[in-house]
Symmetry: C2
Amino acid sequence: MTENTAAAIEFARSHRDRFVDELKALLRIPSISTLPEHAGDVRHAAESVVAELRRIGMENVRLIETTTAEHPNGHPLVYADWLHADSAPTVLCYGHYDVQPAEPLDEWTTPPFEPTERNGNLYARGAVDDKGQMWMHVKALESLFAANGGKLPVNVRVLIEGEEEVGGEGIAWFVRAHGDQLRADVALVSDTEMFAPDLPTLCVGLRGMIYTEVEVRGARTDLHSGMYGGAAPNPFVALAQIITKLKDENGRILIPGFYDKISPPTQDELKAWKALPFDEEHYRQTEVGSPELTGEPGYSVLERTWARPTLDVHGMPGGFIGAGAKTVIPAKAIAKISMRLVPNQTPAEAFAQYKASVESIAPRGVEVVVRLIHSGDPIVVSTDNPYVKSATTAMHEVFGTETVFVRGGGSIPIVGDFVRELKIPTLMMGFGLPDDNLHAPNEKFHLANFHRGIESIIRFFCLVQA
Amino acid sequence: MTENTAAAIEFARSHRDRFVDELKALLRIPSISTLPEHAGDVRHAAESVVAELRRIGMENVRLIETTTAEHPNGHPLVYADWLHADSAPTVLCYGHYDVQPAEPLDEWTTPPFEPTERNGNLYARGAVDDKGQMWMHVKALESLFAANGGKLPVNVRVLIEGEEEVGGEGIAWFVRAHGDQLRADVALVSDTEMFAPDLPTLCVGLRGMIYTEVEVRGARTDLHSGMYGGAAPNPFVALAQIITKLKDENGRILIPGFYDKISPPTQDELKAWKALPFDEEHYRQTEVGSPELTGEPGYSVLERTWARPTLDVHGMPGGFIGAGAKTVIPAKAIAKISMRLVPNQTPAEAFAQYKASVESIAPRGVEVVVRLIHSGDPIVVSTDNPYVKSATTAMHEVFGTETVFVRGGGSIPIVGDFVRELKIPTLMMGFGLPDDNLHAPNEKFHLANFHRGIESIIRFFCLVQA
């Protein structure tokens, strides 16, 4: 460890409380990107990040607007750079400042936007996904500036988006249109989790996704089920029929052609996954909590969640959802349906297959409209580059154990764009834990991992420099 | 027509505008019985009716509270009587002052609780179901009092409930426990519709119903569909599987034993139904508006909606129903499912069959809870009594055409209680129209029918007296 590295780590350790307090302030902003009524909060969060990047010494700090005719009401990107480490490589740091909706609110122990510490964890919507992890980058940079007389050991660009939870159209557009402004040697993304506590983890593959809505329209207007039951089509029943024809009871997707181009994991990968400390029954009890796990027979849980496509229903708006009874046959109902995709599926082809399938199985008496809400490519990143070595060494120094290579079941659409458009390796070095309740009530970030993440990133920057 | 009848009709005709204005005032009260936040409005509506019954000359006017330990937050009954027509029979007039929820609000042309006249119709939630029809009774009584020097030609009891739209537990309890206070010779219910415009109609049968909720629980908490998709059970998918196993694509209910005890309509009834002015294609276009009608093959629309049981889904609360995308696998989801029952099914047996069926078909990985929200018996009323003759004569005098006998697809639970507990014939003499949008946006009452209803009831009271 160089003297500068040690000084940066010392700085980070001596400012832990402040770092957490700052993160809490950011978590208090309900920057829910999918809800139009929170657009002001999303911008407020962006401006807070801009202010902090300026304060710590980053340059060219600015908001980049993403609203276009095709993409109305876009949330801004935050950009910053520091490019004075002449002979050193350039790291592109990515994160997002937007968060998921917090519903159902009554299942939170403490309110989602009042960050609360309990048992070494910080509870809040966005604590780990991704404000807390994004803040690790900012605080690692601050520590390095402070310990190095206002300089960084490497060149750094920071690009932080506000639309990750709604598909990331704005950043995708920017990367495609202005990739030249993002020239870098490696991208660092902290938006994933460790496989287990104390087990440093690099994520080397992600599922893609298509998020859709199927709207089913039956009668012209809502009808009384007493008077019209037996003659009027019921959109919810039609949706139930469609859903059961899209996925069978074993979890196998029935869309024609859907599995045709899938590239399975390598034998080496499957062998390494088998060696991971994973107990299916423990996972069922502690993480899922359902009476049984579901999914395709013949595949392990890790294969099913990392390397197999899936289809889920997220909500079915329409009709009467209040307490009590309303005997309505609704004129329309919607199913919010998403599919996770794996290499080498493409969102465009998967959506075309899905749309054709839904249209072909729609029952008589109703009309269906299939909408694509957003999508992301599945990706696998390469591990044969020196930055992977720097990352694993950095984490080994902090955690004392070897890094494991895993995949993630979720989507980080921008990683595909980095790989495809910028043609640079991407390190998904995340510090969440499997029980951090992403996208769910009581989201948390284990504060020890917040601090270990900052130290790992400091060490990574110092090692990349060499 | 006697002099008194003519005078009462003259009174009603000369006060038409006031009668409509009074009805509008009642319609402005959002007495939605299923929504706890409207409990005060429900009571306000009840008190308005009490005040009016007192004003016109009814006696013993009072609210009867229905709240008990088993039935918390009950809405009050309105009771009144006038029992001084010594040798004449006693008519029990029934109506309800509660209404359905008004959602979806954005499909109303004018707001549901701002009654508005357009093209001879009065638009408002509750206009025809049932405030407007209940008001016909009150206004007929007022006209008779006014024309007869403060007397009625018959004895009258009035019983008006505030829980018809939520199953009518309160009135059922009162009829069972205090039937002696309701001694009458015939019940008059105006809560049904005419088969076609200008076609006076008596409804002689009603489907029963059970309204249920199926709650499906999978994971302990909401989960991220990227991380857990492929392992965690999806409650909406489970509900879709359950729904498709309850009813097949032809509309046939698959619950074992469900059809076993059904008593079909008589050959005479089926023949009379075939003679009714009913055009299936016209009905599809003007009333339903869907690309096709659905339901069991081999049965006419009238049979399917009057004399066959059905199963409908009214709403599926749970998960994410906002705009945009949330990639959640919800911990639980609910389906609001009701079944219409026909003679001789019973709600108790049908619910037991249904519950056992749902529990037996619940897919692996989830737990199901089946709840009965409310229920009502199917009924067929007798037509071989003098009151039917008085009613058909009264309507013939007003409309100039013969009365048709139909059934209704909906439920009026109290009719079963009148038949069973009070052992009196019940006349369902309603003046709604098929396109009145009951339980739907833009509910209306054709004002000509409001006035013809008042005159028919005046004449009916005078004929019964004889």
